[in-house]
Amino acid sequence: MARRSREKTAIAEQAPEVRVTNFNEVCLGYTLDEGKLEAARCLQCRNAPCIEACPVMIDIPGFILQIREGNLEEAAKILKKYTNLPAICGRVCPQEKQCEMVCKLGKAKNFEPVAIGKLERLVGDWALDNDYSEDLVLPDEKKGKVAVVGSGPSGLTVAGDLAKAGYDVTIFEALHSAGGVLSYGIPEFRLPKKIVKQEIGTIEKLGVKIETNVVVGKTIDMEEIMSEFDACYLAVGAGTPNFMGISGTSLNGVYSSSEYLTRINLMHGYEFPRFDTPIKDSKHVVVIGGGNVAMDSARSAKRIGAEKVSIIYRRSLEELPARIEEYHHSVEEGIEYYWQTNPVEYLDDGTGAVGGVKVVKMALGEPDESGRRRPSPIPGSEFIIEADAVIEAIGQGANKVLLTTFPELKLNKWGYVDADPETGKTSVPGVFAGGDIVTGAATVILAMGAGKVAANEIMKYVEEKKVASGKSK
């Protein structure tokens, strides 16, 4: 066998100076030849640790072997057994913290792990481009009716798995487009909406019905759902933005990242006035937070023409929760960082709009319960950063519209749905839950993993219910 390259096979990307002027995808993906080259780096481990580290336990060496042989259809067949959304996961999963983190090749001195995510994406894209679908024979008579509330990654996964198993599935979605955070949160330059639409299309082809513009709790209520369906899966996410609540939060030009990204991604604010939803032209944008959402906001602001975009984060690069790839991309694109810095107050420019952010430097103390060093303000270290827009990306909380109209459902102390992580079962029989509404804001793949678990439990529940009602007759 040829000697393995130490580094991952290079992947084409848009040059930073070009890509900051557009919303097109940054990473252009592998060609088949590049993919074959990268696939050949895989050691084909017997007890492959990458499988265990994947929340949906994809047979990673298996699909990679097929790429090496140039057989993308076989690779796609393997992937589809485990994931309904490979083109999405290949792009947005934090592989460096999951499959790629444990890759044995990557453990060897001076070796990078196999680019598993990029290979998954290659296959996922091939499947979409070639309209590949499994040879599934879906039964005419359905095994049961299941309602899924929310069309984000968790809901889509449950729906796809149940449909494949012969269930009649309806997804209720509050917004006008399906996809949840895939549609309104993650920007086009990381996850093209065309890909999201195509992946959702493959799930609809399984017979899943998606009803948009339905807020469960308002348009229809849980009582109606429970009378019409055999079971229900709640996957409404953690979409309520938190605000720090410092002075000046109500000034014009202060956004939650949810609002900023929704305007840009879902409503195409970057194409205003062709699209009707406006977004402000800002010169100096300050983003608060260190997660992927902060990166996405900052990089979007740059693309709609801001001259200077800064991210302020209360800890250091070492604790940054964002994907390292996205951090590097942001630096290449000229995003500036203020480390160990926290906002104290937003300053009025005299017209009711924000003109600057008063910040304070932070010292890092002992590690807290999350294992990260606890930041505390350094007295007297305040200074002012000029800003005509501020975006708070400090996390989201549970979506309350449904929860407040469904008092029977038990919540945990953080206000999220109390569901058994092993089964997705909630305090209400027949109601299952998963994804961010159970865990708080996490990752796309974890939400999908929860969906896979719940889908199996829902099938068991519906079958048992049918048997029990059969006996009682």
């Binding site: 006008h176 807020v215 979409g239 605000f243 109500s250 406006p278 979506n399």
Partner: protein, 279 residues
């Protein structure tokens, strides 16, 4: 779904439409609103539910053309479909027996006031309604409000209908004359602010319906956030109704102006396109 069944022009730039939407017709309560999007390029705009016909599964909206989206909406007519309609949204008005209630509506705000007038009358209250507008043509739903009011007073800036003067003049007169248990005011923000000040002077609790900028309308973005007393509330889920005395009016009015330039640009671009397309 969302097929327009009735269409009526009420004044120079105010329109009434009825459209089919079973679910909303079945669930809507006074004080609630919908979010709609006219077409694929459209933005999401909130409009109050004025009335429903449960038997036919239809919903009534009244809107004023003030910018591009309402302009586009006004081009739809019977048989056309509104692309997206989401609702009913918001917390409903608390309809119960208060005693004597005073309801004040200004301009197109009368449309939002009407279901509350109707609800409160049906709940057995003594209903006094004050309608105000710049001129006679802009007093909408006068007969409908009259049908559910024990007393109806009309005020116009130019005296072309009812009395010449402001709605607050009528409020003062009523407060001096009799005990009012609870009041509501819906209309332009400046009007609601002054109605609040008037009610406060007489110690009458007053509810207002806030109409901040909204995007999703389901509590997901905080674009509609308002300061209510010492707290931040999202008007789309916590409101749109709040006690007027708790609202930070100047801040609210300031935030409404956030996209004034963009709104003007959007309308201007649209009008130019219309001229090119239609000659």
């Amino acid at each position: 779904m969302n097929r327009i069944t009735k269409y009526r022009q009420l004044s120079d730039n105010e329109y009434e439409i009825w459209f089919e939407n079973d679910r909303i017709a079945k669930k809507a309560q006074p004080g609630q609103f919908i979010i709609l999007r006219v077409d694929e390029l459209g933005e999401r705009i909130p409009l109050t539910i004025v009335d429903t016909d449960k038997d036919n599964g239809t919903v009534c909206l009244i809107y004023q053309v003030i910018g591009k989206s309402t302009k586009k909406l006004s081009t739809l007519t019977v048989g056309d479909h509104i692309l997206d309609v989401l609702g009913p949204l918001g917390t409903p008005t608390e309809i119960k027996q208060y005693g004597t209630v005073l309801l004040v509506g200004g301009g197109v705000g009368i449309a939002a006031l009407f279901p509350i007038v109707k609800g409160l009358k049906e709940a057995g209250n003594k209903v006094i309604t004050v309608l105000g507008a710049r001129t006679a043509d802009l007093i909408i739903l006068k007969e409908q409000c009259e049908a559910y009011s024990d007393e109806l007073i009309v005020m116009t800036d130019d005296g072309s209908l009812g009395e010449k003067g402001l709605v607050t003049d009528a409020m003062e007169r009523i407060f001096k004359r009799e005990t009012v248990d609870t009041a509501w005011a819906i209309g332009p923000s400046v009007m609601m602010k002054f109605c609040t000040l008037t009610a406060e002077k007489y110690g009458v609790p007053i509810y207002v319906s806030l109409n901040p900028i909204m995007i999703d309308g389901t509590g997901m973005c905080g674009g509609c956030r308002v300061s209510i007393g010492d707290t931040t509330k999202f008007a789309c889920v916590d409101g749109p109704e709040f006690l007027g005395t708790d609202v930070h009016w100047d801040e609210f009015i300031q935030r409404m102006k956030q996209y004034r330039d963009e709104e003007a640009c959007s309308l201007e671009t649209y009008q130019k396109e219309q001229v090119i397309d239609n000659g």
